[in-house]
């Protein structure tokens, strides 16, 4: 039955050409992505080298001056972004680290565009998430609906075939075609991914991503076969399926984020900054000025060393003050960023509830997470940079603290390159298994959709049974 159905689909050449056209377009998209990623890799490597050179060439200066000079830490390029760019265009590609502040990542590719920039987002993954379901619908809506298909169905039933076999055969044929399309899409992406020096872990992630897409397409195949069996008219089946496709792949993924943001509003950048500065100045309670807290530290030190003036301390109080200020501002920034990320998490939870209406809402985060182009991967990078920033700045502050300026000099000077040689940026990357665990809810949703669609196909088989 499946083989016959595949033969019939093969004869419908328009769909084959359409699928081929989509494949070619996805291939073109992957090729442009690969070119872009290679350019980004070169750019980021050059910037990292230049920043390291600049940092080391500061020579012998006041360590706190170096802390203000700062340095930029570019984000890594993700090889699987060639297949699923995910949020890449909406995330900053570099963080500028300096004393006293946690700067957000800057240089988002989406910035400084034009009206055309709002149309970005076509990728091999998007083709599988939005266009492939459309192809599945077009290939399968008339397999059992419409006068010709119904007549054939009656003949097949009359010849003794069971409805389950008829529905199952059509479903297997459609799913096989969808699987083939997924494989072809992965196939055209593979050279571009390998070109980005993808490691074994990336290839494993790609396989898991492909699995998610297959599950998603199976759900669409089953829904299509079910609609085709449930509606006698091909037109009704097509309109119903197209309406579902438009809602699931276009409308819900666009409306759900707006609803999520309305339910859980994100603070504006100026409000966020003002809140951080207020807390740095006046403490969490708003009545604990930083100056007073520093005075308490000073009093503690004077008591510890049993001296009456900071000048008599065996350590440099300027360094103590800088260390205190950095700890204070870092803790404040951390608290506020945690709150901001908590808002993001609540928004994403609200977004996920829309997966009831659209499996695409569950598939997109699944695919991005394994491609390392989601916010979680960006957060790993940003947290790694912040950890590096704090260690770097406090190393400089410690140097100030432990060294009083020579007599007649205002500041203690140090060779910045030697002082900070041991402080290196150690990017942290989530293990694949951790990503998988975090994505279990999305997997469960996809499985539930596939199961629901298969049940619906079963119901359609029962209805068809009555035709005989």
């Amino acid at each position: 039955m499946a083989a016959t159905q595949l033969k019939l689909m093969w004869r419908e050449r328009r769909l084959f050409w359409l699928a081929l056209a989509v494949l070619l377009l996805a291939g073109a998209s992957v090729a442009t992505s690969a070119g872009r990623l290679s350019a980004q890799s070169r750019e980021r490597l050059a910037v990292a080298e230049e920043e390291a050179r600049l940092w080391d060439s500061q020579g012998v200066i006041d360590p706190h001056d170096a802390a203000h000079t700062g340095r930029a830490v570019p984000a890594p390029v993700r090889p699987l972004a060639a297949f699923d760019p995910g949020l890449s265009d909406f995330l900053g590609s570099s963080v500028f680290i300096e004393a006293h502040a946690q700067n957000p990542a800057r240089h988002r590719p989406i910035e400084a565009g034009a009206a055309l920039s709002r149309f970005s987002g076509f990728s091999a993954a998007w083709a599988l998430q939005a266009v492939a379901p459309l192809l599945v619908i077009l290939a399968g809506f008339a397999t059992m609906s419409g006068e010709v298909a119904r007549d054939r169905l009656r003949h097949e039933l009359g010849a003794g075939a069971s409805a389950a076999a008829l529905v199952g055969g059509r479903l297997i044929a459609l799913a096989a075609a969808a699987g083939l399309l997924t494989l072809a899409m992965i196939g055209v992406s593979l050279p571009a991914i390998l070109l980005q020096d993808a490691a074994l872990i990336e290839m494993m992630a790609l396989a898991v991503m492909a699995g998610g897409h297959v599950l998603y397409l199976v759900a669409f195949c089953a829904l299509t076969v079910a609609a085709s069996g449930l509606f006698a008219s091909a037109r009704t089946a097509l309109v119903t399926l197209l309406a579902f496709w438009a809602v699931a792949t276009l409308l819900v993924p666009r409306i759900a984020p707006a609803v999520a943001e309305a339910l859980e509003p994100t603070p504006s950048a100026p409000a966020f900054r003002a809140a951080v500065l207020e807390e740095v100045e006046n403490g969490v309670s708003g009545h604990d000025p930083a100056d007073a807290r520093l005075d308490a530290v000073k009093a503690g030190l004077l008591a510890l060393y049993e001296v009456g003036d900071v000048a008599d301390l065996p350590i440099n109080f300027r360094g103590v003050s800088l260390e205190f200020g950095e700890k204070n501002s870092t803790e404040t920034y951390n608290r506020h960023f945690q709150r901001l990320y908590a808002v993001y998490r609540r928004q994403e939870a609200a977004l996920r509830t829309f997966a009831v209406l659209s499996p695409t809402v569950a598939l997109q985060p699944w695919s991005r997470a394994f491609a390392r182009t989601d916010f979680g991967a960006h957060l790993d990078y940003v947290r790694g940079v912040e950890d590096y920033r704090y260690r770097l700045i406090q190393t400089l502050n410690l140097e100030v603290k432990m060294n009083k300026p020579p007599p007649g000099e205002r500041y203690h000077l140090a060779d910045i390159a030697s002082l900070t040689r041991s402080v290196v940026f150690a990017p942290h990357q989530q293990r694949l298994v951790d990503v998988a665990v975090a994505q279990l809810p999305n997997l469960a949703i996809l499985v539930a959709w596939a199961a629901f669609a298969l049940c619906l196909a079963g119901v359609s088989a029962l209805r068809i049974e009555r035709l005989s």
């Binding site: 328009r14 377009l25 073109a28 998209s29 442009t32 350019a39 750019e43 980021r44 910037v47 230049e50 920043e51 600049l54 000079t69 930029a72 570019p74 949020l87 909406f90 995330l91 590609s93 500028f96 957000p104 240089h107 910035e111 400084a112 565009g113 034009a114 009206a115 055309l116 920039s117 709002r118 149309f119 076509f122 939005a130 459309l134 077009l138 809506f141 037109r235 097509l238 197209l242 409308l251 993924p253 666009r254 984020p257 707006a258 943001e261 309305a262 994100t266 504006s268 950048a269 100026p270 409000a271 900054r273 003002a274 808002v343 993001y344 928004q347 994403e348 977004l351 985060p365 989601d374």
Partner: protein, 451 residues
């Protein structure tokens, strides 16, 4: 059969079709949600601007009691770009450009970096904004195609076409009148719905609403022409539906996305990362050179000492000199950005959906050109602040308490109306595309003459 007769028949058919009210109600609901989103965005932007203005007032209040002890001090000013009067219509490029600057006479010319970061959830941003512009660009064509995709194919399918063609009737006018009657039955209420919800969301400029109406009608006209073209080829309604879906996907999604990807590869944007590093390197070198120069040639103390300390004059002179040296680097980067944006702007003339998006962004005031006009005006304001500061330094006249509130303030000067030349160019591009399709349809009208 007269044109009026055909038109009346089509109108009656459309009115009896239960799908029409469903489509229009759907459009109304989606437009209302989108307009509400646009209005929410305007509120959020205004709230952010209020925070910035409060910050500026707080800085002035902080300076007020200490102004006599700080001769030469001037408060930081924070120019802002307010949302336009039709802002609820389209968020467009408003998130992609800075809407505030931080101006100080003694600070460098990178005045947009401090306040320009968008901290919205990238997952939500990547999904795209659900605003009225999205409804017009992406969803309105689907509504129109749903109402017109089987304009002639249905007649063919049911055998009515053969009967009609046996009458003394010219096929071209027949299809044209059918398309126009059926299309306008959907398009006119759709345009009214979109304009009404835009006005409800606060986009109340009469010229803006008129421009919006024109754009919606022109874009609708393009899709009606596309529906006519599809029906010349399709012999079955399902074929027509597939054709309509494919053309929608090609025009609204794939062609713009692939054009953008191609342009990114052929003319990549200038590297902002490299620019930032190069600027930092150059700035550090200039400042070090200036520091060494000041150490070697210290400014001699004057007697009696000026009211504004010479240290401030040195700072000012060094900053202005540094900016002068950095200007070629900054200008080169700006030229590269402009060249790329120009290319993206040009591409819209070949892509009807992008031309409509561009026109809606411009009507809403969320286009790149308005954001860039703000940047230019903010930089001019900084230059004006510097000239004012220089004048006071030359006169050795520190800012007084009475003058604090009289300092020149930034006011964004709007450029262009809702019918600015770029919007007219977008309209012209749409009309040309529509006329080309109609011309092709006219040439191919014989295909519809076979039942």
């Amino acid at each position: 059969m007269s044109a009026l007769g055909i038109s009346g028949y089509e109108l009656r058919r459309m009115v009896r079709d239960p799908a029409l009210p469903v489509l229009l109600v759907l459009l109304l609901v989606l437009s209302t949600v989108a307009a509400r989103n646009g209005a929410d965005w305007v509120e959020q932007r205004e709230a952010a601007i209020a925070v910035i203005e409060a910050e500026e007032r707080a800085a002035v209040a902080l300076l007020r009691p200490r102004i006599d002890q700080l001769p030469g001090a001037t408060p930081r000013s924070q120019p802002v770009l307010p949302p336009g009067s039709m802002a609820a219509l389209s968020i467009g490029q408003a998130d992609a450009y800075p809407f505030a600057a931080s101006v100080h006479a003694l600070a460098d010319s990178q005045i947009f970096s401090r306040l320009s970061t968008d901290i919205g959830n990238p997952t939500l941003r990547a999904a795209g904004r659900f605003d009225l512009a999205f409804v017009v660009v992406f969803l309105l064509p689907l509504v129109l195609l749903a109402a017109t995709y089987d304009l002639w194919s249905r007649e063919r399918e049911r055998g009515i076409a053969a009967m009609v063609l046996s009458q003394p009737v010219a096929i071209g006018p027949l299809i044209a009148v059918k398309g126009l009657s059926r299309g306008l039955t959907v398009l006119l209420p759709a345009a009214a719905i979109i304009m009404a919800v835009a006005a409800w969301a606060g986009a109340t400029s009469p010229a803006g609403l008129a421009a919006l109406g024109l754009i919606v009608l022109a874009y609708g006209g393009f899709w009606l022409a596309a529906a006519v073209m599809i029906n010349l080829f399709a012999r079955r309604s399902t074929e027509a539906a597939i054709g309509a879906g494919t053309i929608w996907l090609a025009v609204v999604v794939m062609a713009p996305a692939l054009t953008l990807a191609g342009l990114e590869l052929a003319a990549p944007p200038p590297s902002e990362m490299r620019f930032a590093t190069a600027l930092k390197t150059r700035d550090a070198a200039i400042r070090e050179r200036q520091r060494l120069h000041r150490v070697a040639h210290p400014t001699t103390d004057r007697t009696p000492p000026p009211r504004i300390p010479d240290r401030m004059r040195d700072l000012y002179a060094d900053r202005v000199a540094a900016d002068g040296e950095l200007a070629p680097l900054i200008d080169a980067q700006q030229r590269a950005r402009d060249a790329r944006r120009h290319l993206l702007d040009l591409a819209r003339f070949l892509l009807p959906s992008v031309a409509v998006q561009d026109a809606l962004d411009r009507i809403a005031g969320s286009d790149a050109d308005r954001a860039l006009a703000f940047q230019r005006q903010a930089l001019e304001f900084q230059a004006e602040r510097r000239r004012w500061t220089k004048q006071r330094m030359d006169l050795d006249a520190p800012l007084t308490l009475a003058e604090l509130d009289l300092l020149p303030r930034f006011q964004f000067r709007e450029r262009g109306s809702a019918f600015q030349s770029s919007v007219l160019a977008d309209l012209a591009a749409l009309l040309v595309a529509t006329l080309l399709i109609l011309a092709a349809a006219r040439a191919l009208r014989g295909r519809a003459a076979t039942p």
